[in-house]
Every structure is written in structure tokens, then in C-alpha cells.
Amino acid sequence: MSAVALLKEPCGSDDAAVKELMSGNICRCGAYANIVDAIQQVRKRE
């Protein structure tokens, strides 16, 4: 849900910005490398 939301939010282009908007979920695994990569892949496609 955080990942889908950040696609519509004013999120910076770098990985650090993605990690920041993925924070706040109970588990830190929300910003693991493969998850960040997947989000960036979708953002580049859109």
C-alpha cells in the first residue's frame, strides 16, 4: 500500500527518497533492496 501510494506522491527519484516514503511500516523489511528495486522499476515504466 505504501508503494502504490508513493507512486502518486511527490517522491524524489533516488532510492533514499523511496526508503523514506516506505518507512513507518512496522517492519524495516519494507525498504529491503529488492523491494526498493521493484518500486524503482515500476516508477521508470510509468
Binding site: S2, A5, E9, P10, K19, E20, L21, S23, G24, N25
Partner: protein, 333 residues
């Protein structure tokens, strides 16, 4: 969580009339306004807040950000933290506020939390949030276990023998440095409160945190016209990179002409029982060259009257370095 009545007043007058029935607008209030609910509902789940009535003000017309004729900015009480932080005018002319908000909480919380609610954010002191423990702020007269207990994150400014709880807000530190004004509507009409006068020191009444009385509704916040050419920085130091409260933070608004500082506004977060403006440090910078020696000197002045607790002496040096670095960043940006 206690049973409560959830009401949606039709306009501000109805909201104020309903809230005026409360015995207080402070700790123990039996009627509460709800904005985003990100603090209030959490505390209701913990039984720290036990209002019998919750007034939802989200549908009142208090959600606008407007330019004022004098060049300042008017920010409605129910404007979401995210909307304020990403507003073009705020990012351009009041960037310290935008930076402060975006370093607080998480994206999800910022999307819900409101300006009015953030002004009233409660402390994260663990004793305040645990109803099994005594706490003068939650239950006046029961004592303050933090003074001899876990106080690493608590205040080095503004504490009393009754309470040493830190104000946790980032937004408020930015607003303090920008010299905001808080506009309140109550049963006796409207009034404007200077930001520095809004929050109270704990003294011997730590359950009273602001000047608000029962029925007082924060309608909006205004910012003075921007200082042209000023550099603004919010620097926040914390135990982890995101979604954490400040151990020390600094909001600075700096204007430099021909290498000399012509204007400085400084507020510190994570260290005070209220957002901690430092007029002494501001005065120490005026007319000085914009260099590290001046910045470090101002930081020494800012922390001169700090009084550490048993576990947080480290905050004094941390806050000095935080402020020095924020000033340096502003001057070189």
C-alpha cells in the same frame, strides 16, 4: 479504550459551543477536537486521553493555504502536514517548515496529521504514556518517575521538579523559527497568540501545556512575509534515520550580507519542554562573520542554560553540534 460519543459539528460555532462544555482544554479534557487523530486516538487507546465526546472538525472549512495581502501565508488548522510540506510557496519561502515536517513521523502519518493537531502534539515520555505509572502531567500530584528513571530522551531546557517531558514536534520548531502566529476562536471571540506564547512551561502545572481554554478552536496559523534572501535549514538528529523523534534538532533562518550575518532566527527541538527558541544565540550572531567560529560561539550561547537529566548529558554537546552544523549548512547553501 473508553466509550465515547463521536460528533461532527456543522460549523465552527457549533464546534466551539460543544467544546466549551468541557471542563478543560488540557489533560483530562472530557471533550476533544479531532483532526487527523494521529496523536489523540493513540492516546485514547492507551487510556491516557479519555474524552467522553470527540468532535470531528475535518469537514469544517479550515483546510486552505492562502497568500495574505501583506505577503505572509495563512494556513488552515486542518491542512494536512503533507499538503503543507509540499506546498510550492512553503517549499520556496518557508523551507525550514517543509523540511521540519518531512523529517517527522512517516508518510502515512503526515498524510493524516493536521497543523492544529501537530501544535497540540503530546510528549513521548514513557511514563506519561503508561497509565500504570505515576505522572504529574497525566495525573497531577502523583509524581515524576522520569526524574530518577528513564530520561535519556527528555528535556534539558524548561524542566521543573514536577515534569521534564520533551515536546516532540518537528513542525513546531520550524514555526518557532518562522515566528508564526496562532489564531484561536473561542466563546469570547477570536484572538491571535504569538508562537512563543502558545506553549507553557511545565512549572507546577505540567498538565497545562498551552494557553487554550475550553471551547478554544485553533482556526489557522499565519506566517509573516518571508525574509528575502534568507537561507533556511532544519537538521534533525535521532537514533535511526526515519520515523523517530529528535534527540536534538535545529531550525535556522539566516540572512547574510557581505559575509556578515544580518538576521538569525534559531529554534531547537528534542531538548525542551516546549519548542525552544534561542533569542540569545540569535543576538550572538548579528554582525558576526558567517563562519564556523561564529556558529560554534552561538551554539555555546544557546546551550549555556541547559540542565541535563541523569541520562542525557550527551544532548548538550549533541545540540551544540546540531546547531553549528545547521548554521554552516544554511550559510553555505
Amino acid at each position: 479504550m473508553h466509550i465515547f460519543e463521536f460528533v461532527r459539528p456543522k460549523d465552527s460555532a457549533a464546534a466551539i459551543a460543544a467544546a466549551a462544555q468541557s471542563k478543560s482544554a488540557q489533560q483530562g479534557a472530557d471533550v476533544r477536537f479531532m483532526g487527523g487523530g494521529t496523536t489523540l486516538i493513540d492516546l485514547m487507546k492507551l487510556n491516557v486521553e479519555t474524552p467522553a465526546r470527540v468532535l470531528d472538525i475535518n469537514r469544517l472549512p479550515l483546510d486552505k493555504i492562502e497568500l495574505m495581502p501583506d505577503g505572509g501565508l495563512k494556513i488552515g488548522a486542518t491542512v494536512r502536514n503533507s499538503d503543507l510540506a509540499y506546498h510550492a510557496k512553503v517549499q520556496q519561502d518557508y523551507s525550514v517548515l517543509s523540511q521540519a515536517i518531512l523529517q517527522g513521523a512517516s508518510a502515512q502519518i503526515r498524510n493524516m496529521a493536521t497543523v492544529g493537531g501537530n501544535l497540540l502534539q503530546r510528549t513521548r515520555c514513557v511514563y506519561f504514556r503508561d497509565t500504570a505509572m505515576p505522572c504529574n502531567k497525566r495525573e497531577p500530584g502523583t509524581g515524576c518517575p522520569a526524574i530518577t528513571g528513564h530520561n535519556r530522551t527528555l528535556a534539558i531546557f524548561g524542566a521543573s521538579e514536577h515534569c521534564i517531558a520533551t515536546n516532540p514536534s518537528d513542525m513546531c520548531v520550524g514555526l518557532a523559527a518562522l515566528e508564526a502566529t496562532i489564531h484561536v476562536q473561542g466563546t469570547k471571540g477570536s484572538r491571535a497568540v504569538a508562537f512563543a506564547d502558545f506553549h507553557l512551561l511545565p512549572g507546577n502545572t505540567p498538565h497545562r501545556e498551552t494557553v487554550l481554554e475550553a471551547g478554544d478552536l485553533i482556526t489557522h496559523v499565519t506566517l509573516p512575509p518571508p525574509v528575502t534572501g534568507s537561507k533556511q535549514v532544519y537538521l534533525k538528529l535521532r537514533d535511526r534515520a526515519s520515523y523517530e523523534f529528535a534527540l536534538s534538532s535545529a531550525a535556522v533562518v539566516l540572512a547574510v550580507a557581505s559575509g556578515k550575518i544580518t538576521r538569525a532566527r534559531i529554534a531547537l527541538g528534542g531538548v525542551g519542554t516546549k519548542p525552544w527558541r534561542s533569542p540569545e544565540a540569535e543576538a550572538a550572531l548579528i554582525g558576526k562573520p558567517a563562519n564556523d567560529a561564529s556558529f560554534r560561539q552561538a551554539a555555546e550561547v544557546a546551550l549555556r542554560n541547559a540542565r541535563p537529566q541523569s541520562e542525557n548529558k550527551f544532548k548538550i554537546e549533541l545540540a551544540k553540534r546540531c546547531l553549528t552544523h545547521a548554521l554552516r549548512t544554511a550559510a553555505t547553501s
